[in-house]
Protein backbone atom coordinates (compact mmCIF):
# COMPACT_ATOMS: atom_id res chain seq x y z
CA UNK A 1 0.00 0.00 0.00
CA UNK A 2 1.47 3.31 -0.98
CA UNK A 3 1.49 6.14 1.49
CA UNK A 4 -0.93 8.85 0.43
CA UNK A 5 0.70 12.12 -0.54
CA UNK A 6 0.05 15.21 1.49
CA UNK A 7 -1.31 18.17 -0.43
CA UNK A 8 1.24 21.04 -0.39
CA UNK A 9 -1.54 23.27 0.94
CA UNK A 10 -1.71 21.12 4.04
CA UNK A 11 0.89 21.60 6.69
CA UNK A 12 -0.11 18.55 8.68
CA UNK A 13 -1.49 15.30 7.33
CA UNK A 14 -2.36 12.35 9.49
CA UNK A 15 -3.48 9.00 8.08
CA UNK A 16 -4.66 5.90 9.82
CA UNK A 17 -3.31 6.83 13.22
CA UNK A 18 -3.93 4.08 15.71
CA UNK A 19 -3.03 3.98 19.35
CA UNK A 20 -3.82 1.12 21.69
CA UNK A 21 -3.32 1.17 25.41
CA UNK A 22 -3.39 -2.49 26.26
CA UNK A 23 -6.88 -3.12 25.05
CA UNK A 24 -8.24 0.40 25.10
CA UNK A 25 -8.22 1.87 21.61
CA UNK A 26 -7.61 5.55 22.11
CA UNK A 27 -7.18 6.30 18.43
CA UNK A 28 -8.83 4.16 15.81
CA UNK A 29 -7.42 5.23 12.51
CA UNK A 30 -7.51 9.01 12.65
CA UNK A 31 -7.35 10.89 9.36
CA UNK A 32 -6.79 14.59 9.68
CA UNK A 33 -5.47 17.39 7.50
CA UNK A 34 -4.68 20.89 8.61
CA UNK A 35 -4.46 23.54 5.91
CA UNK A 36 -1.58 25.98 6.02
CA UNK A 37 -2.25 29.34 7.51
CA UNK A 38 -5.53 28.39 9.16
CA UNK A 39 -6.75 28.30 12.69
CA UNK A 40 -8.24 24.84 12.87
CA UNK A 41 -10.32 23.59 15.76
CA UNK A 42 -10.37 20.12 17.23
CA UNK A 43 -13.42 19.37 19.31
CA UNK A 44 -15.08 16.31 20.70
CA UNK A 45 -16.53 14.87 23.89
CA UNK A 46 -14.29 14.12 26.84
CA UNK A 47 -12.31 10.97 26.41
CA UNK A 48 -12.51 11.05 22.64
CA UNK A 49 -8.73 11.04 22.32
CA UNK A 50 -7.91 14.65 21.57
CA UNK A 51 -5.01 14.95 23.99
CA UNK A 52 -3.76 11.51 22.98
CA UNK A 53 -3.70 12.72 19.42
CA UNK A 54 -1.59 15.69 20.44
CA UNK A 55 0.70 13.44 22.46
CA UNK A 56 1.27 11.29 19.43
CA UNK A 57 1.74 14.10 16.93
CA UNK A 58 4.17 15.95 19.18
CA UNK A 59 6.25 12.84 19.69
CA UNK A 60 5.84 12.23 23.42
CA UNK A 61 3.79 9.15 22.80
CA UNK A 62 5.76 6.83 20.56
CA UNK A 63 3.45 3.88 20.58
CA UNK A 64 1.20 4.74 17.66
CA UNK A 65 1.07 3.35 14.14
CA UNK A 66 0.09 5.18 10.98
CA UNK A 67 1.51 8.15 9.17
CA UNK A 68 2.14 11.68 10.36
CA UNK A 69 3.35 14.05 7.71
CA UNK A 70 4.42 17.51 8.80
CA UNK A 71 5.59 20.04 6.27
CA UNK A 72 6.49 17.32 3.78
CA UNK A 73 8.28 15.09 6.27
CA UNK A 74 7.16 11.96 8.01
CA UNK A 75 7.72 12.60 11.67
CA UNK A 76 6.30 9.49 13.29
CA UNK A 77 9.01 8.13 15.53
CA UNK A 78 10.90 11.41 15.87
CA UNK A 79 11.90 12.68 19.29
CA UNK A 80 9.79 15.57 20.57
CA UNK A 81 12.80 17.88 20.54
CA UNK A 82 13.45 17.07 16.90
CA UNK A 83 9.85 17.76 16.02
CA UNK A 84 10.02 21.04 17.89
CA UNK A 85 13.10 22.13 16.00
CA UNK A 86 11.42 21.16 12.76
CA UNK A 87 8.72 23.70 13.45
CA UNK A 88 5.89 21.96 15.27
CA UNK A 89 5.25 23.12 18.82
CA UNK A 90 2.65 22.23 21.38
CA UNK A 91 1.31 23.44 24.72
CA UNK A 92 -0.17 21.38 27.54
CA UNK A 93 -3.58 21.38 29.08
CA UNK A 94 -2.24 22.00 32.57
CA UNK A 95 0.46 24.58 32.84
CA UNK A 96 3.96 23.15 32.72
CA UNK A 97 5.99 26.21 33.30
CA UNK A 98 9.37 25.41 34.86
CA UNK A 99 8.73 26.45 38.45
CA UNK A 100 12.28 27.18 39.62
CA UNK A 101 13.35 28.99 36.49
CA UNK A 102 12.62 32.67 35.96
CA UNK A 103 10.13 33.71 33.32
CA UNK A 104 13.00 34.86 31.16
CA UNK A 105 14.80 31.56 31.57
CA UNK A 106 11.59 29.73 30.77
CA UNK A 107 11.50 31.48 27.45
CA UNK A 108 15.18 31.46 26.59
CA UNK A 109 15.53 27.73 27.08
CA UNK A 110 12.88 27.21 24.43
CA UNK A 111 14.76 29.26 21.90
CA UNK A 112 17.47 28.11 19.59
CA UNK A 113 20.92 27.60 21.06
CA UNK A 114 22.50 29.65 18.33
CA UNK A 115 20.17 32.57 18.82
CA UNK A 116 22.30 35.41 20.12
CA UNK A 117 19.37 37.70 20.61
CA UNK A 118 17.26 35.21 22.54
CA UNK A 119 16.96 37.62 25.46
CA UNK A 120 15.57 40.38 23.23
CA UNK A 121 13.11 38.03 21.61
CA UNK A 122 11.93 36.95 25.01
CA UNK A 123 11.53 40.51 26.26
CA UNK A 124 9.68 41.40 23.11
CA UNK A 125 7.19 38.60 23.63
CA UNK A 126 6.72 39.49 27.27
CA UNK A 127 6.18 43.11 26.27
CA UNK A 128 3.36 42.08 23.96
CA UNK A 129 1.39 40.59 26.84
CA UNK A 130 2.42 43.19 29.42
CA UNK A 131 4.48 40.75 31.43
CA UNK A 132 7.84 42.39 30.93
CA UNK A 133 8.27 43.29 34.62
CA UNK A 134 7.90 39.64 35.50
CA UNK A 135 11.01 38.58 33.62
CA UNK A 136 12.99 37.84 36.79
CA UNK A 137 10.12 36.20 38.66
CA UNK A 138 10.28 32.48 39.24
CA UNK A 139 7.75 30.44 37.36
CA UNK A 140 6.16 29.14 40.53
CA UNK A 141 5.36 32.64 41.73
CA UNK A 142 3.15 33.47 38.78
CA UNK A 143 -0.59 33.20 38.94
CA UNK A 144 -2.07 30.31 37.02
CA UNK A 145 -3.26 32.46 34.17
CA UNK A 146 0.12 34.11 33.85
CA UNK A 147 1.75 30.70 33.78
CA UNK A 148 -0.42 29.60 30.90
CA UNK A 149 0.43 32.76 29.05
CA UNK A 150 4.15 32.26 29.61
CA UNK A 151 3.83 28.68 28.46
CA UNK A 152 2.22 29.96 25.30
CA UNK A 153 4.98 32.50 24.77
CA UNK A 154 7.52 29.79 25.36
CA UNK A 155 6.65 27.89 22.22
CA UNK A 156 6.74 31.07 20.22
CA UNK A 157 10.46 31.42 20.85
CA UNK A 158 11.34 29.07 18.04
CA UNK A 159 8.93 30.69 15.59
CA UNK A 160 7.09 27.47 14.77
CA UNK A 161 5.10 26.96 11.61
CA UNK A 162 2.40 24.95 13.36
CA UNK A 163 1.30 25.25 16.97
CA UNK A 164 -0.91 22.72 18.73
CA UNK A 165 -2.80 24.39 21.57
CA UNK A 166 -4.43 22.15 24.14
CA UNK A 167 -7.21 24.13 25.85
CA UNK A 168 -5.01 27.19 26.14
CA UNK A 169 -7.61 29.31 27.88
CA UNK A 170 -8.72 26.83 30.52
CA UNK A 171 -8.47 28.35 33.97
CA UNK A 172 -7.44 31.77 32.66
CA UNK A 173 -9.34 34.95 33.54
CA UNK A 174 -11.27 36.75 30.78
CA UNK A 175 -8.78 39.58 30.35
CA UNK A 176 -5.79 37.34 29.83
CA UNK A 177 -7.90 35.08 27.70
CA UNK A 178 -8.58 37.97 25.40
CA UNK A 179 -4.86 38.71 25.20
CA UNK A 180 -4.19 35.13 24.31
CA UNK A 181 -6.69 34.96 21.47
CA UNK A 182 -5.51 38.29 20.16
CA UNK A 183 -2.00 36.91 19.92
CA UNK A 184 -3.27 33.82 18.15
CA UNK A 185 -5.04 35.96 15.60
CA UNK A 186 -2.02 38.21 15.20
CA UNK A 187 0.37 35.32 14.67
CA UNK A 188 -2.03 33.64 12.31
CA UNK A 189 -2.05 36.83 10.29
CA UNK A 190 1.72 36.48 10.03
CA UNK A 191 1.41 32.94 8.73
CA UNK A 192 1.44 30.62 11.74
CA UNK A 193 -0.97 27.72 11.57
CA UNK A 194 -2.88 26.69 14.67
CA UNK A 195 -4.64 23.49 15.68
CA UNK A 196 -6.62 24.15 18.82
CA UNK A 197 -8.40 21.84 21.23
CA UNK A 198 -11.20 23.79 22.83
CA UNK A 199 -14.45 23.15 24.61
CA UNK A 200 -15.70 26.70 24.39
CA UNK A 201 -17.82 26.72 21.25
CA UNK A 202 -17.98 30.49 21.05
CA UNK A 203 -14.23 30.58 20.65
CA UNK A 204 -14.33 27.88 18.04
CA UNK A 205 -17.05 29.64 16.14
CA UNK A 206 -15.23 32.95 16.36
CA UNK A 207 -11.71 31.87 15.60
CA UNK A 208 -11.64 28.70 13.56
CA UNK A 209 -12.13 28.49 9.86
CA UNK A 210 -12.07 24.73 9.92
CA UNK A 211 -13.21 22.29 12.59
CA UNK A 212 -12.58 18.59 13.08
CA UNK A 213 -14.70 16.53 15.41
CA UNK A 214 -13.07 13.62 17.17
CA UNK A 215 -15.25 11.03 18.85
CA UNK A 216 -14.19 7.76 20.34
CA UNK A 217 -10.85 7.81 18.55
CA UNK A 218 -12.13 8.70 15.09
CA UNK A 219 -12.80 11.85 13.13
CA UNK A 220 -16.52 11.85 12.56
CA UNK A 221 -17.01 15.22 10.95
CA UNK A 222 -15.11 18.04 9.36
CA UNK A 223 -16.00 21.39 7.98
CA UNK A 224 -16.72 24.91 9.03
CA UNK A 225 -18.46 25.48 12.32
CA UNK A 226 -21.89 26.11 10.90
CA UNK A 227 -21.82 22.82 9.06
CA UNK A 228 -20.73 20.63 11.92
CA UNK A 229 -22.99 22.12 14.53
CA UNK A 230 -25.96 20.58 12.83
CA UNK A 231 -24.26 17.37 11.88
CA UNK A 232 -26.20 14.30 13.05
CA UNK A 233 -23.18 12.31 14.07
CA UNK A 234 -21.72 15.18 16.02
CA UNK A 235 -24.88 15.75 17.99
CA UNK A 236 -25.10 12.07 18.67
CA UNK A 237 -21.54 11.99 19.91
CA UNK A 238 -22.14 14.81 22.34
CA UNK A 239 -25.65 14.05 23.48
CA UNK A 240 -26.34 10.45 22.66
CA UNK A 241 -28.94 8.91 20.39
CA UNK A 242 -32.42 10.33 20.38
CA UNK A 243 -31.81 12.75 23.22
CA UNK A 244 -31.09 15.87 21.26
CA UNK A 245 -33.51 18.41 19.93
CA UNK A 246 -32.96 21.03 17.29
CA UNK A 247 -31.60 24.17 18.86
CA UNK A 248 -31.69 22.97 22.44
CA UNK A 249 -28.24 22.65 23.99
CA UNK A 250 -26.51 22.15 20.67
CA UNK A 251 -22.81 22.88 20.57
Amino acid sequence: MTTPVCDPDHILCVWGLRRDFGGVQALRGVDLHVARGTITGLIGPNGSGKTTLFQVISGIDRGATGTINFDRENILGWRPSQIYHRGLARTFQLSRVFPELTVLENLVVAGSRKDRSADERAFGLLERVHLREYAAVLGKHLSYGQQKLVEFLRVLMSDPALILLDEPAAGVNPTLRGTLWDMVRHLNGLGTTFLIIEHNMEVIADLCSDVHVLSDGEIIARGDFAAIRNDEQVLEAYFGKGRHEQGAGTP
Binding site: S58, I60, R79, P80, S81, Y84, H85, A89, R90, F92, Q93, L94, S95, R96, F98, P99, E100, L101, T102, L104, E105, V108, V109, A110, S112, R113, E133, Y134, A136, V137, L138, H141, L142, S143, Y144, G145, Q146, R154, V155, M157, S158, E167, A170, G171, V172, N173, P174, L176
Partner: protein, 322 residues
Protein backbone atom coordinates in the same frame (compact mmCIF):
# COMPACT_ATOMS: atom_id res chain seq x y z
CA UNK B 1 19.09 40.20 34.72
CA UNK B 2 18.89 42.12 38.00
CA UNK B 3 22.10 43.87 38.87
CA UNK B 4 21.96 42.62 42.44
CA UNK B 5 22.53 39.12 41.27
CA UNK B 6 25.38 40.29 39.10
CA UNK B 7 26.93 42.05 42.04
CA UNK B 8 26.66 38.95 44.15
CA UNK B 9 28.27 36.94 41.49
CA UNK B 10 31.33 39.10 41.22
CA UNK B 11 31.59 39.24 45.01
CA UNK B 12 31.42 35.49 45.03
CA UNK B 13 34.15 35.31 42.46
CA UNK B 14 36.41 37.58 44.53
CA UNK B 15 35.76 35.56 47.65
CA UNK B 16 36.51 32.39 45.76
CA UNK B 17 39.74 33.74 44.36
CA UNK B 18 40.81 34.83 47.81
CA UNK B 19 40.12 31.39 49.23
CA UNK B 20 42.04 29.70 46.47
CA UNK B 21 45.00 32.00 46.96
CA UNK B 22 44.95 31.33 50.67
CA UNK B 23 44.78 27.62 50.07
CA UNK B 24 47.64 27.78 47.61
CA UNK B 25 50.04 29.36 50.06
CA UNK B 26 48.80 27.43 53.07
CA UNK B 27 51.41 24.64 52.90
CA UNK B 28 54.06 27.22 53.71
CA UNK B 29 52.46 27.92 57.03
CA UNK B 30 50.76 24.69 57.99
CA UNK B 31 52.23 21.46 59.13
CA UNK B 32 51.49 18.09 57.64
CA UNK B 33 48.52 17.42 59.85
CA UNK B 34 46.62 20.47 58.64
CA UNK B 35 47.71 19.89 55.07
CA UNK B 36 46.25 16.42 55.24
CA UNK B 37 43.06 17.82 56.66
CA UNK B 38 42.71 20.40 53.92
CA UNK B 39 43.53 17.77 51.34
CA UNK B 40 40.60 15.75 52.54
CA UNK B 41 38.36 18.79 52.49
CA UNK B 42 39.36 19.43 48.89
CA UNK B 43 38.58 15.82 48.00
CA UNK B 44 35.14 16.09 49.53
CA UNK B 45 34.47 19.39 47.75
CA UNK B 46 35.46 17.90 44.41
CA UNK B 47 33.25 14.86 44.92
CA UNK B 48 30.41 17.01 46.15
CA UNK B 49 30.51 19.29 43.13
CA UNK B 50 30.49 16.29 40.84
CA UNK B 51 27.44 14.92 42.60
CA UNK B 52 25.93 18.39 42.54
CA UNK B 53 26.20 18.40 38.78
CA UNK B 54 24.18 15.28 38.11
CA UNK B 55 21.94 15.30 41.14
CA UNK B 56 21.53 18.93 42.10
CA UNK B 57 21.45 20.54 38.72
CA UNK B 58 20.07 17.81 36.51
CA UNK B 59 17.81 16.28 39.10
CA UNK B 60 19.05 12.74 38.68
CA UNK B 61 19.85 11.96 42.29
CA UNK B 62 22.48 9.24 42.44
CA UNK B 63 22.91 6.97 45.41
CA UNK B 64 25.97 5.27 44.06
CA UNK B 65 28.35 7.79 42.58
CA UNK B 66 31.07 6.38 44.74
CA UNK B 67 31.20 3.70 42.05
CA UNK B 68 33.20 6.10 39.90
CA UNK B 69 35.43 6.94 42.81
CA UNK B 70 36.15 3.26 43.17
CA UNK B 71 36.76 2.80 39.47
CA UNK B 72 39.19 5.69 39.42
CA UNK B 73 40.87 4.44 42.55
CA UNK B 74 41.51 1.02 41.12
CA UNK B 75 42.57 2.41 37.76
CA UNK B 76 44.95 4.80 39.45
CA UNK B 77 46.43 2.10 41.65
CA UNK B 78 46.89 -0.29 38.75
CA UNK B 79 48.45 2.22 36.40
CA UNK B 80 50.81 3.20 39.16
CA UNK B 81 51.90 -0.38 39.70
CA UNK B 82 52.31 -0.76 35.95
CA UNK B 83 54.98 1.90 35.96
CA UNK B 84 53.15 5.03 34.93
CA UNK B 85 54.08 8.31 36.63
CA UNK B 86 51.60 9.21 39.33
CA UNK B 87 50.03 12.18 37.57
CA UNK B 88 49.38 10.07 34.48
CA UNK B 89 47.82 7.42 36.69
CA UNK B 90 45.47 10.04 38.07
CA UNK B 91 44.60 11.10 34.57
CA UNK B 92 43.90 7.51 33.63
CA UNK B 93 41.69 7.13 36.66
CA UNK B 94 39.57 9.93 35.33
CA UNK B 95 39.57 8.50 31.82
CA UNK B 96 38.53 5.04 32.93
CA UNK B 97 35.68 6.45 34.97
CA UNK B 98 34.57 8.62 32.07
CA UNK B 99 34.71 5.83 29.52
CA UNK B 100 32.75 3.43 31.67
CA UNK B 101 30.23 6.07 32.66
CA UNK B 102 29.03 6.37 29.09
CA UNK B 103 27.38 2.95 28.72
CA UNK B 104 26.42 2.89 32.38
CA UNK B 105 24.77 6.27 32.06
CA UNK B 106 22.88 5.33 28.96
CA UNK B 107 21.57 2.37 30.87
CA UNK B 108 20.61 4.05 34.10
CA UNK B 109 19.49 7.44 32.83
CA UNK B 110 16.48 5.82 31.26
CA UNK B 111 15.11 5.41 34.75
CA UNK B 112 13.36 8.08 36.65
CA UNK B 113 13.72 9.45 40.16
CA UNK B 114 13.98 6.80 42.85
CA UNK B 115 14.62 4.01 40.35
CA UNK B 116 17.68 5.79 39.08
CA UNK B 117 18.87 6.25 42.65
CA UNK B 118 18.44 2.57 43.43
CA UNK B 119 20.10 1.50 40.21
CA UNK B 120 23.13 3.64 41.02
CA UNK B 121 23.24 2.12 44.49
CA UNK B 122 23.30 -1.27 42.82
CA UNK B 123 26.05 -0.13 40.49
CA UNK B 124 28.26 0.68 43.43
CA UNK B 125 27.72 -2.76 44.86
CA UNK B 126 28.38 -4.35 41.48
CA UNK B 127 31.66 -2.45 41.38
CA UNK B 128 32.58 -3.83 44.73
CA UNK B 129 31.68 -7.37 43.72
CA UNK B 130 33.61 -7.15 40.46
CA UNK B 131 36.65 -5.86 42.33
CA UNK B 132 36.37 -8.78 44.71
CA UNK B 133 35.88 -11.43 42.05
CA UNK B 134 38.38 -10.26 39.45
CA UNK B 135 41.29 -11.43 41.50
CA UNK B 136 43.77 -11.54 38.63
CA UNK B 137 43.42 -7.83 38.11
CA UNK B 138 42.62 -6.44 41.50
CA UNK B 139 44.04 -8.96 43.92
CA UNK B 140 40.51 -9.48 45.17
CA UNK B 141 39.71 -8.94 48.79
CA UNK B 142 43.34 -8.68 49.83
CA UNK B 143 43.68 -5.45 47.99
CA UNK B 144 46.68 -3.69 46.57
CA UNK B 145 49.35 -1.99 48.60
CA UNK B 146 51.27 0.72 46.84
CA UNK B 147 55.02 1.04 47.32
CA UNK B 148 55.94 4.40 48.84
CA UNK B 149 58.49 5.03 46.12
CA UNK B 150 55.71 5.28 43.57
CA UNK B 151 53.72 7.84 45.48
CA UNK B 152 53.85 11.58 45.10
CA UNK B 153 54.73 13.80 48.01
CA UNK B 154 52.13 15.27 50.31
CA UNK B 155 52.63 18.69 48.74
CA UNK B 156 51.94 17.34 45.28
CA UNK B 157 48.86 15.56 46.51
CA UNK B 158 47.75 18.70 48.25
CA UNK B 159 47.99 20.78 45.13
CA UNK B 160 46.43 18.13 42.97
CA UNK B 161 43.40 17.90 45.20
CA UNK B 162 43.20 21.67 45.38
CA UNK B 163 43.18 21.77 41.59
CA UNK B 164 40.50 19.11 41.46
CA UNK B 165 38.30 20.96 43.93
CA UNK B 166 38.85 24.20 42.06
CA UNK B 167 38.29 22.59 38.69
CA UNK B 168 35.10 20.91 39.82
CA UNK B 169 33.77 24.14 41.30
CA UNK B 170 34.63 26.15 38.22
CA UNK B 171 32.97 23.54 36.06
CA UNK B 172 29.78 23.77 38.06
CA UNK B 173 29.95 27.56 38.15
CA UNK B 174 30.49 27.74 34.43
CA UNK B 175 27.71 25.33 33.63
CA UNK B 176 25.42 27.11 36.04
CA UNK B 177 25.60 30.26 33.99
CA UNK B 178 25.53 28.92 30.48
CA UNK B 179 23.02 27.39 28.16
CA UNK B 180 23.94 23.81 29.04
CA UNK B 181 23.19 24.49 32.69
CA UNK B 182 19.88 26.10 31.80
CA UNK B 183 18.88 23.03 29.84
CA UNK B 184 19.95 20.76 32.70
CA UNK B 185 17.85 22.73 35.13
CA UNK B 186 14.89 22.55 32.77
CA UNK B 187 15.34 18.80 32.67
CA UNK B 188 15.33 18.76 36.44
CA UNK B 189 12.15 20.79 36.61
CA UNK B 190 10.15 18.88 34.05
CA UNK B 191 11.96 16.58 31.68
CA UNK B 192 9.05 15.99 29.37
CA UNK B 193 8.26 19.68 29.03
CA UNK B 194 11.95 20.37 28.39
CA UNK B 195 11.95 17.83 25.59
CA UNK B 196 8.85 19.51 24.21
CA UNK B 197 10.62 22.84 23.86
CA UNK B 198 13.55 21.45 22.00
CA UNK B 199 15.97 20.32 24.70
CA UNK B 200 17.70 17.09 23.69
CA UNK B 201 17.30 15.54 27.09
CA UNK B 202 19.19 12.34 26.39
CA UNK B 203 22.30 14.08 25.14
CA UNK B 204 22.29 16.59 27.96
CA UNK B 205 21.80 13.98 30.64
CA UNK B 206 24.55 11.76 29.33
CA UNK B 207 27.02 14.61 29.07
CA UNK B 208 26.24 15.72 32.61
CA UNK B 209 26.57 12.17 33.82
CA UNK B 210 29.96 11.64 32.19
CA UNK B 211 31.24 14.95 33.54
CA UNK B 212 30.01 13.95 36.97
CA UNK B 213 31.97 10.71 36.70
CA UNK B 214 35.26 12.13 35.49
CA UNK B 215 35.89 14.06 38.68
CA UNK B 216 35.30 11.21 41.12
CA UNK B 217 37.53 9.10 38.91
CA UNK B 218 40.41 11.50 39.35
CA UNK B 219 39.63 12.00 43.02
CA UNK B 220 39.63 8.26 43.57
CA UNK B 221 43.03 7.89 41.97
CA UNK B 222 44.52 10.66 44.08
CA UNK B 223 42.89 9.32 47.20
CA UNK B 224 44.41 5.91 46.70
CA UNK B 225 47.83 7.49 46.46
CA UNK B 226 47.17 9.31 49.66
CA UNK B 227 46.18 6.20 51.58
CA UNK B 228 48.61 3.94 49.65
CA UNK B 229 46.24 1.03 49.94
CA UNK B 230 43.07 -0.10 48.20
CA UNK B 231 40.64 -2.97 48.53
CA UNK B 232 37.07 -3.42 47.35
CA UNK B 233 35.56 -2.19 50.60
CA UNK B 234 37.64 0.94 50.81
CA UNK B 235 37.20 1.77 47.15
CA UNK B 236 33.46 1.35 47.05
CA UNK B 237 32.75 2.42 50.59
CA UNK B 238 29.39 3.90 51.41
CA UNK B 239 31.06 6.64 53.40
CA UNK B 240 31.81 8.52 50.25
CA UNK B 241 28.27 8.16 49.00
CA UNK B 242 26.83 9.50 52.19
CA UNK B 243 29.29 12.36 52.29
CA UNK B 244 28.59 13.39 48.74
CA UNK B 245 24.87 13.40 49.30
CA UNK B 246 24.77 15.04 52.71
CA UNK B 247 27.41 17.67 51.99
CA UNK B 248 25.52 18.87 48.95
CA UNK B 249 22.02 18.68 50.39
CA UNK B 250 23.12 20.32 53.59
CA UNK B 251 25.06 23.03 51.82
CA UNK B 252 22.55 23.68 49.08
CA UNK B 253 21.84 21.44 46.16
CA UNK B 254 22.13 22.93 42.70
CA UNK B 255 24.16 25.93 43.82
CA UNK B 256 27.83 26.67 43.32
CA UNK B 257 28.72 27.56 46.90
CA UNK B 258 26.51 25.02 48.60
CA UNK B 259 28.87 22.06 48.33
CA UNK B 260 31.79 24.19 49.47
CA UNK B 261 29.97 25.53 52.51
CA UNK B 262 28.61 22.10 53.31
CA UNK B 263 31.98 20.41 52.99
CA UNK B 264 33.72 23.01 55.08
CA UNK B 265 31.22 22.87 57.92
CA UNK B 266 30.95 19.12 58.02
CA UNK B 267 34.64 18.42 57.73
CA UNK B 268 35.55 20.99 60.36
CA UNK B 269 32.99 19.61 62.76
CA UNK B 270 34.27 16.14 62.10
CA UNK B 271 37.83 17.14 62.72
CA UNK B 272 37.05 19.02 65.89
CA UNK B 273 34.65 16.62 67.47
CA UNK B 274 34.79 13.06 66.36
CA UNK B 275 37.66 12.31 64.03
CA UNK B 276 38.43 9.40 66.30
CA UNK B 277 35.02 7.89 65.80
CA UNK B 278 34.12 7.42 62.16
CA UNK B 279 30.92 5.66 63.11
CA UNK B 280 29.76 8.66 65.06
CA UNK B 281 30.62 10.87 62.12
CA UNK B 282 28.54 8.75 59.79
CA UNK B 283 25.66 8.38 62.18
CA UNK B 284 25.51 12.14 62.56
CA UNK B 285 25.64 12.54 58.81
CA UNK B 286 22.62 10.28 58.73
CA UNK B 287 20.85 12.49 61.25
CA UNK B 288 21.78 15.55 59.24
CA UNK B 289 20.42 13.94 56.10
CA UNK B 290 17.09 13.25 57.73
CA UNK B 291 16.89 16.74 59.19
CA UNK B 292 17.76 18.40 55.91
CA UNK B 293 15.27 16.35 53.92
CA UNK B 294 12.49 17.03 56.39
CA UNK B 295 13.14 20.63 57.33
CA UNK B 296 15.72 22.29 55.13
CA UNK B 297 15.47 21.05 51.58
CA UNK B 298 17.21 24.09 50.19
CA UNK B 299 20.27 23.66 52.36
CA UNK B 300 22.29 26.25 54.25
CA UNK B 301 22.62 28.49 51.23
CA UNK B 302 18.88 28.93 51.10
CA UNK B 303 18.96 30.43 54.57
CA UNK B 304 21.51 33.00 53.54
CA UNK B 305 19.79 33.95 50.36
CA UNK B 306 16.69 36.06 50.64
CA UNK B 307 14.38 35.97 47.67
CA UNK B 308 14.84 39.43 46.23
CA UNK B 309 12.57 38.79 43.30
CA UNK B 310 9.17 40.36 43.23
CA UNK B 311 6.24 38.23 44.14
CA UNK B 312 3.11 39.27 42.28
CA UNK B 313 -0.30 38.57 43.74
CA UNK B 314 -0.88 34.93 43.50
CA UNK B 315 -4.17 33.44 42.28
CA UNK B 316 -6.07 36.39 40.97
CA UNK B 317 -9.82 36.05 41.25
CA UNK B 318 -11.35 33.89 38.60
CA UNK B 319 -8.23 31.94 37.89
CA UNK B 320 -8.18 28.39 39.03
CA UNK B 321 -6.57 25.41 37.41
CA UNK B 322 -9.28 23.38 35.69
Amino acid sequence: MPSIANGLRSNGAWAGAALVAAAAVAPLALNEYYQSFLLQVFLVIALAQAWNLISGMTGYVSFGHSAFFGLGAYAGALFLTWGFPWWLAVFHGAVVAAVLSLPLGMLTLRLRGPYFAIAMLGLNEIGRIVATLWVDLTNGGSGITLAPSLLPSLEMEYFTTLMLALGATLLVAFIHRNRFGLELRAIREDEEAAEMVGVNTTLNKVVAFVLSAVIPGAVGAVSVMYTSFINPNSAFAHTRNVEMIVVVLFGGSGTVWGPIVGAAIIMILREMLWAEFPEVHLALLGVLLVVVVLYLPGGIVSLARRDRRRRPDIAKAGETPP
